[in-house]
């Protein structure tokens, strides 16, 4: 085990996978000399050279499309998007091309491709640079979607993503890059997709939270334990595939569930989870499955407003109390 920051955990896996497999290469804006504006590729150009650590022009549709083409023809590209919000500029290449090619070609094409980068609130970047956009990529079959909340999960899931033969959307969080945690040193350490992590065990309520919301849910759970409410916190880690079995198992025990994500509540993954729980665990539920997510407006620049839009610890506490009828 080593203690490292989330950003370093990502960097180290990129390095190890590039050492292990010559087909792996990284490209993106300002990732070479600069090492990425969040430092996730720092030092890689020095080790692997500019061919495999490739600075791109500001041409997202162009270089994501190039990633699709390179992955179709034997390479294993890992593309960094400076902000995952910029996927919008390249949506056709992601949703119409990367997601669909294998199926449309009758299973005769393989696309080992990772598109990774950060998203979310925390740096005052306003509406086009603070979004949580993961849900878009879960609606179109053909992609897998990961969103690690800890350094170890970032490392383990990224390794799985790079070794997977499918196009993967890998959502990091800008506010998590500086968070430190224990990461196994084993260069094959990986975490399978579709396995949730129980971050805290509890008997009364299940809180399912993603990315930055995991730490907020844990904080809320601490507060609630003082009121005699024992909260179980689960991080799905990948939202496609989604580990419904773990959620159902937990709800069978607690009878109550709250889903918390930073992305907009409307049409978000919380709705999907709530619907699945209703279908699969209806008889165990003592209250409707509740959801918290960003309010239905553009992420505002002002910090006061941003805090009003995205669920905070107190909102989670309140949300739990509500489904406990307190």
């Amino acid at each position: 085990m080593s203690t490292k920051k989330y950003a370093v955990a990502i960097r180290d896996v990129l390095q190890q996978e590039m050492q292990r497999d010559e087909r792996v290469f990284v490209m993106g804006e300002d990732i070479a000399e600069q090492g990425g504006i969040f430092g996730c590729t720092r030092g890689l150009m020095e080790e692997f050279g500019k061919e495999r650590v490739r600075n791109t022009p500001i041409s997202e549709a162009g270089f994501i499309g190039a990633g699709v083409g390179a992955s179709l023809t034997g390479m294993r590209p890992v593309i960094e998007l400076m902000y995952m919000d910029f996927t919008y500029v390249a949506m056709d290449q992601i949703l119409n091309q990367a997601a669909k090619i294998r199926y449309m070609y009758g299973g005769k094409a393989t696309l080992p491709l990772v598109i990774r980068g950060q998203q979310g609130i925390g740096r005052g970047n306003a509406g086009t640079h603070s979004q949580s956009v993961e849900a878009f990529f879960t609606h179109i079959p053909g992609l897998k979607v990961a969103m690690p909340a800890t350094p170890a999960d970032a490392a383990g899931l990224l390794r799985t993503a790079i070794r997977d033969n499918n196009p993967i959307m890998f959502f990091e969080h800008k506010a998590l890059y500086a968070v430190s945690g224990e990461v196994p040193d084993d260069p094959d350490f990986s975490i399978p997709f579709g396995k949730a992590a129980i971050m805290r065990e509890g008997a009364d309520v299940t809180v399912i939270a993603t990315s930055l919301m995991v730490s907020r849910a844990l904080e809320a759970a601490e507060k609630l334990s003082g009121e005699g409410i024992d909260v179980e916190v689960i991080d799905p880690r990948t939202i496609l595939p989604m580990d419904m079995d773990t959620f159902v198992g937990s709800v069978k025990k607690t009878g109550r569930a709250l889903v918390v994500h930073e992305a907009h509540r409307t049409m978000g993954i919380g709705a999907e989870i709530a619907a699945e729980l209703t279908e699969k665990a209806f008889v165990y539920l003592d209250a409707p499955v509740a959801r918290l997510g960003a309010k239905a407006c553009t992420l505002p620049f002002s910090l006061v407003l941003e805090n009003a839009v995205v669920p905070g610890v107190d909102d989670i506490v309140e949300g739990v109390r509500k489904i406990c009828y307190r």
């Binding site: 300002d30 000399e33 600069q34 022009p57 970047n125 306003a126 239905a296 006061v304 407003l305």
Partner: protein, 319 residues
């Protein structure tokens, strides 16, 4: 160029310079947050281009947009309040530095998405054409933006529809850390005009007169219904890409060389030499600009934050 216009350009450049200096110091003292991209050193482009525009003409701008907004008539106090996310700001604190807009003055918005403003400016030019007015549109953008699909699509649309628009590229040589030489297939971005069969011209972006000549021609062409022009202004940003950029990609010497080419100093030399303004008058304009910006900062600092209860307003037009 007549003296009135020159004086206006000079004054506008001073306002922009002071605005950026103030934004930097507020950022450094933690009174302002977020992504703040300063245009210090590039003021000549915004001021000279906008000296040819009327309120009813349109611009679209970029993440590095304070200068364009001020030159297109933004009040520094409302702009500074927006940088601080205050309820008195241009966007009521919703947009921040990268989204300052004032549609009433033809500023269709700074834009945090690289190259997103170009097609929008083409649309404004299309609208002017459809409405039969003599309005024109200007799209400001950086060298990095010229590698986005939106740049190419906007130029082609504007060319094929003969829209009254001027594409103004501020080539400050870098997109964040990436030098144009490694990101861009041509030495001069203006060359790309050829691909769309429109005029493309390279000018010294730190020289008011050089910019002015090219803009004059482009405005005349737009108003004559002949279509778009591309003007590439070679310039340099004095500070990092954003406040806090370690700038590993360029040397201090290079920055110094470009500071010697300060567009404001160059204009002052001309004004002095041609006795258009006296030393005293220039000093007064400096101190006026500085006190105007001090007052703007005061206004912004003393303005209230937005009320969280209003956060869901303006998502839709309420019929």
């Amino acid at each position: 160029m007549d003296n009135k216009r020159l004086e206006w350009i000079y004054k506008t450049m001073l306002t922009i310079r002071n605005f950026e200096d103030k934004a930097l110091s507020l950022f450094e003292s933690n009174q302002l947050r977020g992504s703040v991209h300063l245009c210090t050193g590039q003021e000549a482009v915004a001021a000279t281009v906008c000296s040819h525009l009327r309120d009813e003409d349109y611009i679209t701008s970029t993440h590095r947009g304070h200068g364009h907004c001020i030159a297109k008539g933004a009040e520094p106090d409302l702009a500074m309040a927006e940088l601080m996310g205050k309820s008195t700001g241009y966007c009521l604190g919703r947009g921040g530095s990268m989204h300052i807009a004032d549609v009433t003055k033809g500023n269709l918005g700074a834009n945090a998405i690289v190259a997103a403003g170009l097609p929008i400016a083409s649309g404004a030019a299309l609208s002017a054409k459809l409405r039969g007015t003599d309005q024109i549109a200007v799209a400001f953008f950086g060298d990095g933006a010229a590698n986005e699909g939106a740049f190419h699509e906007a130029l082609n649309l504007a060319a094929v529809w003969k829209l009254p628009i001027i594409f103004v590229c501020e080539n400050n040589q870098f997109g964040i850390s990436t030098h144009v030489d490694v990101s861009t297939s041509v030495k001069d971005i203006a060359v790309r005009a050829k691909a769309y069969d429109i005029p493309g011209e390279v000018v010294d972006g730190n020289d008011v007169f050089d910019i002015d000549k090219a803009v004059k021609k482009a405005v005349a062409r737009a108003k004559a219904g002949k279509g778009p022009s591309l003007i590439e202004c070679k310039t340099y940003r004095w500070y990092g890409h954003w406040t806090g950029d370690p700038q590993v990609y360029r040397s201090k010497e290079d920055v110094e060389i470009w500071k010697q080419k300060c567009p404001i100093k160059r204009l002052e030399e001309y004004l002095r030499e041609h006795k258009i303004l006296t030393e005293k008058e220039m000093e007064k304009m400096h101190s006026d600009a500085s006190s105007q910006i001090d007052a703007a900062a005061e206004f912004a600092l003393s303005s209230p934050d937005p009320d969280p209860a209003t956060v869901l307003e303006n998502v839709y037009f309420e019929n």
